[in-house]
């Protein structure tokens, strides 16, 4: 599985981990990872993500929309330096808590 989800014991936090290239091929899996869940806090873990393209950015926007838009609480963690650069160029740090 290249998209793995984990819900915290208290059921409050959903962690989505991406492995490999984060691009359009993961569209379906990524959407299924959160679609039928109650989202209060979401963590997207990119520790094992090697690359991220603009459709992945679009997927993050969909997640954000699903999680409440401006009221959402989404953290993007463990980005590699290449992935961080892409997020920085897009100024996605204005929408997501990126570390």
């Amino acid at each position: 599985m290249s998209v793995v989800t984990e819900v915290s014991p208290d059921g409050q936090k959903l962690t989505i981990s991406i492995r490999g290239r984060f691009d359009f091929a993961k569209h379906q899996e990524f959407r299924e990872s959160y679609e039928h869940k109650q989202l209060s806090a979401v963590v997207v873990d990119l520790k094992d993500a090697t690359y991220l393209d603009s459709s992945a950015l679009g997927m993050l926007l969909l997640l954000r929309d699903h999680a409440g838009g401006d009221d959402s609480d989404i953290r993007v963690v463990n980005s590699s330096s290449d992935v961080k650069k892409i997020l920085a160029i897009s100024n996605f740090d204005k929408l997501f808590d990126i570390s």
């Binding site: 690359y51 459709s55 679009g58 926007l61 969909l62 897009s90 100024n91 929408l95």
Partner: protein, 570 residues
């Protein structure tokens, strides 16, 4: 899955010179449910194949007239891409002879005397292969048809889009660009157009995704860009409109990274907004320095109109300086090990560049060396600053007849603080003035003067900014930072614009007066300066004096007055 499929009866050709063997084999094969054709030698077998197209062939190797090897070769040639399995029937045992059967195009062989069970199994296995091949061919043809269809759709969409997108000025002498012919379907978009004042707006955009979905947003974006640029709107208003439109029409996961430029040849500056594109570069020819034009904003179509940030940055330029923009296809090019080309490699190409005109070719070469092949989604554009006189913006086209031209009127506006913060009244004023046919021939000068008068009144008057800040490049940046900050904090103040049109002989006269609530300036000192265009600061006043008639300032510089005249229309 294929194993459980009931075997469909096949038409099987049996080529065997011994009549007894032929009969024996025919009856075995018939009993297995297949139809049988027979041939007594290779030549007959080829003829039978030619006219009756059996689906499988059982072929004796040694036959008179034409042996099985030659017949197999000819039958394979006739069959073309369709797989017609040939099973050699042979009493040969040496491995070399058996190998020859396969080399001649045979797919398998069966040793004499025949074992019915093995024969049935082999026919079944060959039939599976035959069907697999047929399915592959069918799917290949289907894909090819779809592909043709798609290409045709793209061709039509591109033809329509080219009509919209190329109404601009990409062919102006100061623009060089490189784009794949189907860049649109990679989501790349390049637009350029002159403003009424002769400034140039340039947009390089990159929509999310590929194919038609990436292309659909381009059309509305191009229309807003051209429509608003032609009417004299600035970057901020155009950006707000483009963002609002894309936000409204695009799905949540689609957006458009874009860099927008406004090159002012008269003010010798470039205004930049970059949302999500890779760094562009402002290349100063004199110092060799390249100033990065970094993305400060989210892409277009992400934020709501309320939260969208239209703030731009302004940089001074000298004649010959260039602005270089590129799409992420350049820095995101991967080599065989998934390493990105990256900004550092790009900067090494910059550093090695000796002839500016060769830059695109050198970047392309570097990408090819890095990746081993060229990519088709790389867009680059370079815009240089020329002397204003070297460019000739196209004349505006008017569709009305001129019969209802207003010739004797006046109007006054007062724009107060809350309006000055976000509203740009210039396009409205210009539209109004261009109802007067006599003024249309000088619309460029009219717009430039109006724009200078307004920005002087706003920036030096209402906001109290000191134009001498713009003496050097860093001051230039500071000036525009202060402008944004003071505009954000603005509580009161006004700019008044009075327009008066009066007939005069066969022609007429327009008087423009602009007043502001600021502290004014030392008119005599400013007027004493020579009329030159080389300094970064104070160019506004000298521009106004060169482009209009009888320019003068009163009320300690708080009130500016200029005139425009026109003669009888031909």
């Amino acid at each position: 899955m294929t194993n459980v499929q009931p075997l469909e009866p096949l038409t099987i050709l049996i080529a065997e010179d011994s009549a007894a063997d032929r009969m024996l084999l025919s009856s075995i094969v018939r009993r297995q449910g297949h139809e049988v054709l027979t041939a007594a030698n290779g030549a007959e077998a080829v003829e039978a194949f030619r006219f009756q197209r059996p689906q499988l062939v059982l072929m004796d190797a040694m036959m008179p007239v034409m042996d099985g090897f030659e017949a197999a070769r000819q039958i394979k040639a006739l069959a073309g891409e369709t797989l017609v399995p040939i099973i050699f029937l042979t009493s040969l045992t040496e491995s070399e002879a058996l190998a020859r059967c396969l080399e001649a195009g045979g797919d398998d062989f069966l040793a004499k005397p025949y074992n019915q069970v093995i024969l049935a199994a082999k026919i079944k296995a060959m039939d599976r292969l035959r069907r697999l091949q047929a399915t592959v061919l069918e799917q290949r043809d289907q894909i090819a048809r779809h592909h043709d269809y798609l290409l045709n759709e793209q061709r039509v969409a591109k033809a329509v889009f080219d009509k919209v997108a190329h109404s601009g000025c990409l062919n102006a002498p100061n623009i060089r660009y490189l784009q794949s012919p189907y860049a649109l379907f990679n989501g790349d978009l390049l637009l350029a157009a002159f403003t009424p004042a002769g400034d140039m707006h340039v947009l390089l955009g990159d929509f999310t995704g590929h194919g038609l979905p990436a292309a659909v947003g381009a059309m509305p974006l191009a229309e807003v860009f051209y429509g608003m640029t032609a009417k004299g709107y600035g970057l901020s208003e155009t950006l707000r409109e483009m963002n609002a439109k894309l936000k409204r029409i695009l799905p949540v996961d689609m957006f458009c990274c874009a860099t927008l430029l406004c090159l002012s040849f008269q003010r010798r500056s470039v205004e930049v907004w970059n949302g999500g594109m890779p760094d562009g570069y402002l290349h100063s020819i004199a110092s060799g320095e390249r100033t990065p034009l970094t993305a400060r904003h989210l892409p277009l179509g992400v934020l709501s109109p309320q939260t969208f940030d239209d703030r731009t940055e302004v940089f001074p330029m000298a004649v010959g300086d260039r602005v270089f923009l590129l799409s992420d296809g350049v820095i995101d090019t991967c080599d065989a090990n998934e390493q990105l080309f990256g900004v550092e490699r790009l900067q090494r190409v910059f550093a090695a560049n000796r002839r500016p005109d060769q830059l695109f070719e050198e970047i392309e070469q570097a990408l090819r060396d890095f990746r081993g092949e060229a990519r088709d989604d790389v867009s680059m554009v370079e815009v240089s600053l020329l002397e204003a006189a070297q460019l000739s913006p196209p004349a505006l086209v008017y569709s009305d007849s001129g019969q209802s031209c207003p010739l004797d009127w006046s109007v006054s506006f007062e724009f107060r603080a809350a309006t000055l913060k976000r509203f740009n009244p210039l396009p409205y004023l210009l539209q109004l003035l261009l109802e007067v046919h006599g003024l249309r021939a000088q619309s460029g000068a009219l717009y430039s003067v109006l724009a200078e008068l307004y920005s002087n009144a706003l920036e030096h008057g209402v906001l109290g900014l000191d134009s001498s800040l713009k003496r050097d490049a860093s001051g230039f940046t500071r000036y525009y930072q202060q402008r944004n900050a003071r505009l954000d904090e603005l509580q009161d103040g006004y700019v008044r614009v009075h327009l008066q049109v009066a007939p005069k002989g066969e022609g007429g006269c327009l008087t423009i007066r602009v007043e502001d609530s600021g502290k004014g300036f030392d008119v005599d000192r400013v007027m004493a300066r020579p009329l030159d265009g080389a300094r970064l600061s104070g160019r506004g006043v000298s521009l106004i004096r060169q482009l209009s008639r009888n320019a003068n300032w009163s009320d300690d510089g708080r009130s500016a007055r200029v005139e425009f005249f026109w003669e009888a229309l031909a």
